[in-house]
Amino acid sequence: MTTIEPAPVIAPQRQSRGFADGLRDALPKIVLAPSFAVILVFVYGFILWTVYLSFTTSRILPVYKWGGFDAYYRLWGQPNWYVAMQNLAIFGVLYIGICIAIGLFLAILMDQRIRAEGVLRPIFLYPMALSFVVTGTAWKWFLNPGLGLEHTMQNLGWTSFKFDWLVNPNMAIYTVVIAGVWQASGFVMAMFLAGLRGIDGEIVKAAQIDGASTVAIYRRIIIPLLRPVFLSAFIVLAHMAIKSYDLVIALTGGGPGNATELPSTFMYSYTFTRNQMNVGSASAVMMLMGITAIIVPYLYSELRERKQ
């Protein structure tokens, strides 16, 4: 952060004039301080602690005996970890891409002066309201070849219908994508809808007068104008993708085999069930580095832009 500070709206007075005035000038900082202190300790302190732990020999509980890079060697020696990273790449790309595509599509449809918007909107939004602790069972049934869609279709007479992704190690990660998209795309729709409603109608009118077709108006004018929404949606989805845990646990438990392991489930299982807390911490450090790589450039550009 190198650029100049902008003019503050209300800056503190030049000199302090007695206790009451001094207190009044410091009040905003006093109000902010507890929140910031809490974040410092409970986020940044804990991150440092996790980093330290990854260099110890901790197994079942934290111990503070130095272990060097052992945990990192173990981590990168784990086939599971590579599977988890690969899955995160597949999951992340598809989840973010499909959520944005469906969210945008839904938002554009919803923006055509739809009569039943009040009914449809909550239908698309409600999955976000539910935890996978709640909907996991329903999803598991639905995707299970013996109980769900495949079974139903075959009962209906389409006997060659096959949908066994859930139990197919090569395809199981895609079922996680399906359920994830189901959950988050409505939220993305709401973001795009808000963005669409915020666009100046005159721009669209001008484009119509210029003779642009509806498709062209969306493609050339509206969607480019939604750029900030794309960015927000990307950030929200990226962080949900990296944190995705309930989703996998509820749907596949990481299986079949380890076909749907993600870094978050990897970290959890090494820390809490496999009694290799240092390896778990090392994976957490890796995740944090990944998050940092995505978020910090975004934060930087976002905060710089506002400086003008």
Binding site: I4, E5, A7, A11, Q13, R14, D21, R24
Partner: protein, 364 residues
């Protein structure tokens, strides 16, 4: 003694100096207008007076009290903002009463004060409404009511008319003028509109790039602008600036082989022959011969090509051109002249001011 003194106010933001030592004094009951183009520092100065933006150095004195370090709420001032800054969550009544409430005024008294102000401003029927239900002019009145109810020592207005349409602007301007005359309030008023400045002020300060260009009454500013910037900025259409050379008690205009005009001796007495000058002449000083005041001493009749005719109803502005130099004349509305014709203009040189092109200052 002055009621409001602004002493050597400087304001730096980063490495950027926005105010470069401003000194202004205003008597009690005066109406000070700070005028200048955007970015000249006038709003910064107003904010400094209000206490919303502390100056880097210098002092603000109100009624003999140094208020530079006082919190805005303790300076006993009121401010009307460009956007009116009405609290959207409160009714008109609550908006006007808010400052009184903050100062612990009893409810009954508050209501009485609000009624009184509402009556003055003729907004009694709006008291229960919210700002979003008001028109622009009504909001403007409420914003003034909010200031008036306080009876502060100084009123500050930050471009209060800029969000109104033209007709309303004229109306409200007149109301502000009347208000000032009736209440004898001390007012500091920021605008970029020179007509507002002329009509309202008892004292105008013209600012440019953080420096005072000229301080004076509206007449002084208009008739005797201190420099080319003030001359150009104040008045519409702008003052004609004609290049010329001093030549034997007069000034040769429109190039070397142009026209020589005789000047009142007071203007050219101290200037050497051959000195390059800029002759400033307001459009109303160039007219058709029928309009020339017989008492005028120095008049020049100059024929020029007419390039444009702009009727405004009451007057007609005619653009003339000689030898590549254009000027604007203000003529009678019923003058029959069309572009392409030649026309003889009368230059009233009694009204002329002369500037030094090097220093841009007026030459007396």
């Amino acid at each position: 003694m002055s009621f409001l003194e602004i002493k050597d106010i400087r304001k730096k933001i980063g490495s950027n100096e926005i105010l470069k030592g401003i000194n202004i004094e205003l008597e009690k009951g005066g109406f000070l207008v700070l005028v200048g183009p955007s970015g000249c520092g006038k709003s910064t100065l107003l904010n400094a007076i209000a206490g919303l933006l502390p100056p880097s150095s210098g002092d603000i004195v109100i009624d003999g009290q140094v208020v530079t370090d006082l919190h805005p709420s303790k300076r006993d001032i009121a401010m009307v903002f460009q956007s009116y800054a009405l609290y959207p969550n409160m009714t008109v009544e609550e908006n006007i009463a808010f400052a009184l409430e903050m100062r612990g005024v009893e409810k009954a008294q508050r209501e009485a004060e609000v009624k009184k102000v509402a009556k003055t401003l003729q907004i009694e029927h709006l008291l229960k409404r919210r700002p979003s239900q008001l028109s622009g002019g009504q909001r403007q009145r409420v914003a003034m009511g909010r200031a008036l109810v306080r009876q502060p020592r100084v009123f500050l207005f930050d471009e209060p008319l800029s969000n109104l349409d033209a007709k309303l602007r004229v109306e409200v301007r007149a109301e502000i003028k009347a208000l000032h005359q009736n209440t004898h309030a001390t007012i500091v008023y920021v605008t970029h509109d020179q007509i507002e400045a002329m009509t309202l002020a008892t004292k105008i300060v013209v600012l440019k790039e953080g420096q005072v260009q000229q301080v004076g009454t509206p007449a002084e500013i208009y008739n005797r602008p201190a420099n080319l910037f003030v001359a150009d900025f104040m008045g519409s259409p702008a003052m004609n600036m004609l290049k010329g050379k001093v030549s034997g008690g007069g000034i040769a205009l429109f190039g070397n082989d142009g026209i020589k005009v005789a000047m009142p001796p007071s203007v050219t007495a101290n200037l050497p022959d051959g000195k390059e000058v800029i002759l400033g002449l307001r459009p109303e000083a160039i007219t058709d011969s029928g309009l020339v005041d017989p008492k005028v001493v120095s008049v020049a009749q100059i024929e020029a090509d007419v390039t444009m005719v702009e009727p405004t109803g009451s007057d007609t502005f005619v653009t003339g051109r000689i030898d590549g130099a254009s000027f604007t004349a203000r003529t009678r509305a019923d003058l029959h002249v069309a572009p392409g014709q030649k026309f003889a203009f009368s230059f009233n040189l009694d009204k002329a001011v002369v500037f030094d092109p090097q220093t841009t200052q007026r030459i007396d």
